[in-house]
């Protein structure tokens, strides 16, 4: 059906032209030239995330991410931010289960500085680490947890989710943000140990993107990153695949006016079989006003909103459905509709019109995601981290266009059995007089 609607211009594979090489110390280097606007992006992806935390140190990978901005011997204090902001640059970072990603954005004249600063902290962040820095960022991260989870309506579902799905000891059995207790327990020794173990060139990939001269960039990359030492990485055994949830039902209370239903299943790993199918299934059920659950629940007057997602990770995935019922509608009522629609989708292949909608919406979303330079830089690193090569955009598009209606249904049947879900319900706290 896709070809009926799309001309070759849009149906053609989108591309991100780049070149790549590897330094002798194992650092992956990817150069993405684009002179459309006067800006550059340096995106550094480290293959370390919350899955690599040891017991009793939940939240540490993310806390460490904050400490990466606290200065080195050569560039102490807030120098990292100060220097780049002085020229119009900015930066940010994020941590997830599998990875930590740092990116610097700014005008082209900052490129050499970006590269120097990233290499500087990759080489010697540990030598300038202090208890005061750790204490300060620990406070900031605990504030982040308060803002994003504890004081955020329904924000604790994200915290409950990990233990509901994964068994104790599994790399994903704790939240990325961590507990207050574990954050409090982190020491300077933990910081330097983590740094020396994981923040090494052979565990990272560097994308340089934007308005720059590749020959000059190569010289700078070699100069600043070339002397960093490769180190042996600890063996990381993949956990046994998990298909059974740990808690079939969890109920929590929150300062909210409406209850909320959350259903979570184990899903396929990122970029693996079933991932594209369940991503499209999530769209079929919950993306847009013509999606099945929107029509039945929201348009049907039973719910305020419905969200459906497939979140693929390295060692598995999470498929989730969240429904906020209308006043007077119970979570049981909306749950019945969700399960009916899942059963229907498992038993009956979607219509041709639905597949057309899914494919076209996915195609346009892919193109729109390629507009910001930083998105493109991060995509190349993500492909490298999950598939072993940054040259994967074409395959990524192809795996979605290859999903037909029977395959989509078969994946729903395989992964989203009604009894296989973990159900997390949020109930409003009793109102105080």
């Amino acid at each position: 059906m896709l070809a009926l609607l799309l001309t070759p211009a849009l149906a053609a594979e989108p591309s991100i032209p780049f070149s790549r090489y590897e330094l002798p110390n194992g650092l992956q280097v990817i150069l993405l030239e684009d002179h459309a606007l006067p800006q550059v992006v340096v995106d550094l992806w480290y293959k370390v995330g919350s899955k690599d935390e040891v017991a009793g140190r939940s939240g540490f990978a993310h806390l460490f991410e904050h400490l990466m901005f606290m200065g080195t011997l050569r560039l102490p204090g807030s120098g990292f931010d100060r220097v780049m902001e002085a020229q119009g640059g900015w930066n940010n970072a994020w941590t997830m289960q599998d990875a930590t990603n740092y990116y610097d954005v700014g005008p082209p004249q900052l490129l050499e500085t970006f590269l120097w600063m990233e290499a500087d902290r990759m080489q010697q962040l540990d030598e300038a680490m202090t208890q005061a820095k750790l204490d300060l960022q620990r406070d900031v991260v605990r504030n982040e947890r308060r803002q994003g989870n504890e004081d955020q309506p329904y924000g604790m579902v994200e915290i409950e989710l990990d233990t509901a799905l994964f068994p104790a000891g599994h790399p994903y059995a704790h939240s990325v943000i961590g507990t207050h207790e574990d954050l409090q327990a982190a020491s300077v020794g933990d910081v330097t140990g983590f740094f020396n173990t994981w923040y090494v060139p052979n565990n990272a990939s560097l994308v340089v993107a934007g308005d720059f001269d590749p020959a000059q960039a190569k010289v700078w990359v070699e100069r600043y990153f070339g002397t960093l030492e490769r180190k042996e990485l600890p063996a990381r055994a993949a956990p046994e695949p998990v298909r059974t949830v740990q808690k079939a039902s969890v109920t929590i209370t929150d300062q909210v006016d409406f209850p909320q239903l959350n259903l979570f299943w184990h899903g396929p790993s990122a970029y693996q079989a079933g991932d594209a199918e369940l991503t499209l299934a999530a769209d079929l059920l919950g993306a847009g006003e013509s999606s099945r659950l929107y029509r039945r629940l929201v348009d049907g007057g039973l719910a305020q909103e419905v969200q459906v997602f497939q979140y693929g990770l390295q060692y598995g995935g999470i498929f989730g459905v969240t429904v906020l019922p209308m006043e007077g509608v119970t979570v049981e009522e909306v749950e019945r509709v969700v399960q009916e629609e899942l059963t229907r989708l498992a038993n009956e292949a979607p219509s041709a019109a639905e597949m057309e909608r899914l494919q076209n919406q996915h195609a346009i979303a892919t193109y729109q995601s390629l507009e910001p330079l930083q998105n493109r830089a991060e995509s190349l690193n993500r492909y490298w981290a999950y598939t072993g090569t940054p040259e994967w955009l074409g395959k990524d598009v192809a795996r979605f266009t290859a999903v037909d209606a029977p395959r989509l249904s078969a994946s729903v049947s395989e992964w989203l059995k009604p009894a296989a879900a973990s159900r997390i319900v949020v109930l409003p706290e009793e109102k105080k007089p």
Binding site: L5, L6, A9, L10, P14, L37, P38, Q39, R74, D81, V83, E85, A86, Q87, G88, W90, V105, G106, P107, Q109, E112, T113, W116, M117, A119, Q123, Q124, L136, D139, V140, N143, E144, R146, Q147, E150, D151, Q152, Y224, T227, Q255, V256, D257, F258, E289, S290, R295, V298, D299, Q304, M326, E327, A353, R357, N360, Q361, A363, I364, Y367, E371, P372
Partner: protein
């Protein structure tokens, strides 16, 4: 680490010492210890000068009915983004029927032309298109985006949306129920509560900018299809409408397409709504919204600000960025990076057509609310004395980079252009704005920021009153009032 120079000296010293023995035969030439290469990371590179940058200028056209159109062709990706704006929004909401514009915009997408709600959304989504819409106090807008090959079909749907909405009774009822539920849910969110309360307290509950654009429980319940049709007729006329398009299109392609659908769109009555000046707040007023058990206190601080593009807009923008517009800004550096009280704090200008505010927003750990308040007001007082050269340079760079990033996406370009058009700015406005960033002087920033006395500000704190109020009083903040959100 041993510094490079010292390590070289240590390496050669022993060989030099051995040459002092008189009776010994001449020694062989000393074997030079290998000199380690210089540490390439020893010195941070210097940063070069910024290259000149002139933003692109749009192609300019107009429909047969004189609706102006700006087009920025960008052939790199086969997609487009379009925004259609009318300068009438929730300011037209009748008293007691707050939320009319918001509800009307929601229902306009729920059945238009020959298609009912389900058929309309199915047709939009089937083609890979998306239509988003909203209304604020000054105006309403609809944005269309998707594959360029679907532009014609998308414009047909957009024309139905704008010119032929159905306003079916059942859809009005459904949308109203959703907006009411959404409003109730939003009131659980501390940031939303702070903004909604702050707007009302700063502008006044009857002011077009103080009334909540998303409505009130009482107002939404009174609005029927007749009200929505009336609002639509008044708001969605060609009078003052503006159009901007960006993407893989040219003016020659898109203008006839637009004209075929909107060229005969009629002008309407030029509705004039009185938007009075903001009330003068002559003493520092602190309002608390009680949120028992909150782990954090939400802050919303509103100062009298500037209308869109009103002077000294650029100087104020630079001062605001220095105060709280970047990570190393004064407020974030102090409250997050030095004290650890918050995950972040930001200051920004919120400028509307007829007035504006300078806003500071943050979420502070509940038990240090009073301490943070002391630090916050000290910084607010200090900024009235101006900023230094380094801060100005930083602010100029940040503002320039913002312009570059707006130009990255077609939606960003179309949104910016339609704003410029609505305010009667020339096609070179973006370039002129960029030039003005570089030209602003430090004394102009100092003069601009001198006006931001906290005596004229409204402070709204959403938090656990039992925990925060006694400590605030201890710190000398005694002019406190407890309020509920409107």
């Amino acid at each position: 680490m041993i510094p490079v120079l010292l390590s070289v000296l240590l390496a050669v010293a022993p060989a030099s010492a051995r040459t002092k023995k008189p009776a010994a035969p001449p020694p062989p030439p000393p074997v030079e210890a290998p000199v380690p290469p210089p540490d390439p990371l020893a010195t941070m590179p210097t940063v070069g000068e910024a290259r000149p940058f002139v933003p692109p200028t749009p192609e300019v056209g107009a429909l047969s009915n004189q609706v102006p159109v700006w087009v920025l062709p960008s052939p790199k990706l086969p997609i487009f983004s379009l925004v259609l704006y009318v300068p009438r929004g929730s300011q037209l909401d009748a008293p007691g029927k707050e939320g009319t514009a918001a509800l009307a915009m929601e229902v306009m997408g729920r059945g238009a032309g020959e298609r009912d709600s389900a058929a309309f959304s199915a047709e939009v989504e089937r083609r890979g298109l998306s239509i988003s819409r909203d209304a604020g106090p000054d105006g309403a807008w609809v944005a269309l985006s998707g594959p360029t090959e679907q532009l014609q079909a998308g414009l047909d749907l957009l024309a139905d949306f704008v010119l032929r909405p159905q306003f079916a009774g059942i859809e009005v009822k459904k949308a109203r129920e959703l907006l009411l539920a959404g409003l109730q849910s939003n009131l659980d969110e501390p940031g939303y509560v702070a903004s909604r309360t702050g707007l009302s307290l700063y502008w006044g509950p009857a002011h077009p900018y103080g009334r909540p654009a998303d409505g009130t429980q009482a107002g939404l319940k009174k609005i029927g299809a007749v009200d929505l049709k009336k609002w639509h007729k008044a708001a969605w006329s060609a009078t003052g409408a503006t159009l901007a398009v960006a993407g893989a299109v040219t003016k020659e392609q898109v203008l006839p397409m637009l004209d075929a659908r909107f060229g005969a769109w009629k002008a309407g009555k030029d509705v004039k709504v009185d938007v009075p000046a903001a009330p003068v707040h002559d003493r520092e007023a602190i309002y608390i919204v009680d949120a028992p058990g909150s782990a954090q206190t939400g802050f919303y601080v509103a100062f009298p600000g500037l209308a869109q593009f009103a002077p000294p807009e650029v100087a104020t923008k630079m001062g605001t960025i220095a105060l709280g517009g970047t990570f190393t800004s004064r407020l974030n550096a102090l409250l997050r990076e030095e004290k650890g009280y918050t995950y972040g704090v930001r200051a920004a200008m919120e400028s509307r057509r007829h007035g504006g505010t300078l806003l500071v927003r943050t979420r502070i750990r509940a038990d240090v609310t009073a301490e943070a308040m002391v630090d916050l007001v000290a910084q607010l007082d200090k900024i009235t004395a101006g900023i230094d050269e380094a801060e100005l340079k930083k602010a100029q760079g940040a503002a320039r980079q913002d312009v570059v990033e707006v130009l990255e996406t077609q939606a960003g370009v179309a949104g910016a252009y339609v704003d410029y058009l609505a305010l009667g700015r020339p096609p070179g406005a973006l370039a002129a704005e960029l030039t003005s960033y570089g030209a602003v002087r430090i004394d102009e920033v100092t003069s601009a920021m001198a006006l931001y006395s906290r005596q004229h500000a409204v402070f709204v704190l959403v938090g656990d009153r039992a925990l925060i109020e006694p400590k605030l009083r201890e710190k000398g903040f005694v002019d406190l009032a407890v309020v509920t959100p409107p």
